[in-house]
């Protein structure tokens, strides 16, 4: 059974029925509008990439956390280093002030650079699973950049992360424990979510 978490532009789908005993046990699809960032398309149907759901959401929240503190020395150092890495990976970055590379904790699925300017989020991606798609609408669309406003991105991440933590984390945790996994630290993720939310309110509070 696929469950869907939907923001204004971001969509995440997770299959709660299939579990593979690896560090990436669940099938997950990640889209922004029609851009398929994580997952594949075969014979007209989407298929998920294997991912660690907790790590996936932690990565999205980390991107927001960095975007909201571009002046922090840690963020500046990460940015400097990941800008070099992005160039090595063949991406032509522009005027971004924050650059954060993540694997999205998905299995060999792709390369992602989450970047921000003062007002924009740009995600440079190469989705390896999409490279050899047989869906005509996705041919040649495995590598690209998607742009949205910074506010929009953070609001969507907060919305879908909250939904994940409230509705699906307990279900996913139950499945994991049934397969003999150690429990994940949800207190940490809750706390981290609230920290990002606070930073968001500080920056955008008066406007929203």
């Amino acid at each position: 059974m696929w469950v869907t978490l939907k923001g204004k532009r971001l969509t995440v789908k997770i299959d709660l029925e299939r579990y593979i005993n690896t560090p990436y046990p669940f099938f997950l699809i990640f889209m922004i509008d029609e851009h398929l960032l994580l997952g594949a398309c075969w014979e007209g149907e989407f298929e998920g990439a294997n991912a660690d759901v907790y790590g996936f959401f932690e990565s999205l929240l980390t991107a927001c956390y960095y975007f909201l503190q571009p002046e922090h020395p840690h963020v500046q150092k990460i940015t400097k280093f990941d800008r070099e890495n992005a160039e090595r990976d063949g991406f032509e970055l522009r005027d971004e002030v924050v650059v954060y590379q993540t694997t999205l904790v998905a299995e060999a699925a792709g390369t992602y650079y989450f970047c921000s300017t003062r007002n924009l989020t740009r995600i440079y991606y190469e989705n390896d699973f999409l490279k050899f798609t047989d869906c005509p609408e996705y041919k040649g669309k495995h590598k690209g950049v998607v742009e949205l406003s910074l506010k929009e991105f953070i609001e969507d991440v907060l919305k879908i992360s909250r939904e994940y933590l409230e509705k699906y984390a307990p279900v996913i945790e139950k499945i994991r424990l049934e397969h003999g996994e150690e429990s994940d630290d949800y207190d940490f993720l809750q706390k981290f979510y609230r920290e990002v939310e606070e930073l968001y309110k500080k920056k955008f509070g008066s406007e929203s």
């Binding site: 560090p23 075969w42 660690d52 932690e58 980390t62 890495n85 590379q101 993540t102 694997t103």
Partner: protein
């Protein structure tokens, strides 16, 4: 490939050599101040995360492998390596099982 047997590239002679390589990658990653930063968010350890390590930056030379991916979890006060695999290099092949029931494996990239 497409139903035919295919000789995969071989980089390490045996499991011991592979293990030594992985130990070396993890050790040098942790010694590298840039990569070490990717373990933390402003000082607090990341919980579940992956990093892509450029072997050239670590001064490791292995014919056929350029980039290795490492996935960690922070458990009971320690970073635990969950898995590691090569991501880029001339000996790194990607396979995709196209239609699980009919077509078999094809080579990608």
């Amino acid at each position: 490939m497409n139903g035919q047997a295919k000789q995969l590239p071989k980089v390490f002679r045996d499991e011991r050599e592979l293990r030594e390589f992985l130990d070396d990658v993890v050790k040098k990653t942790l010694e590298n101040s840039d990569y070490k930063k990717q373990f933390f968010k402003n000082g607090a350890p990341n919980k579940n995360f992956g990093i892509s390590v450029d072997l050239k930056k670590l001064g490791i030379n292995v014919d056929g492998i350029d980039v290795v991916r490492l996935e960690f979890k922070f458990e009971k006060g320690k970073f635990v390596l969950k898995t590691a695999y090569p991501k880029k290099g001339s000996a790194v092949w990607e396979y995709r099982y196209v239609n699980r029931y009919e077509r078999g494996w094809i080579r990608e990239g």
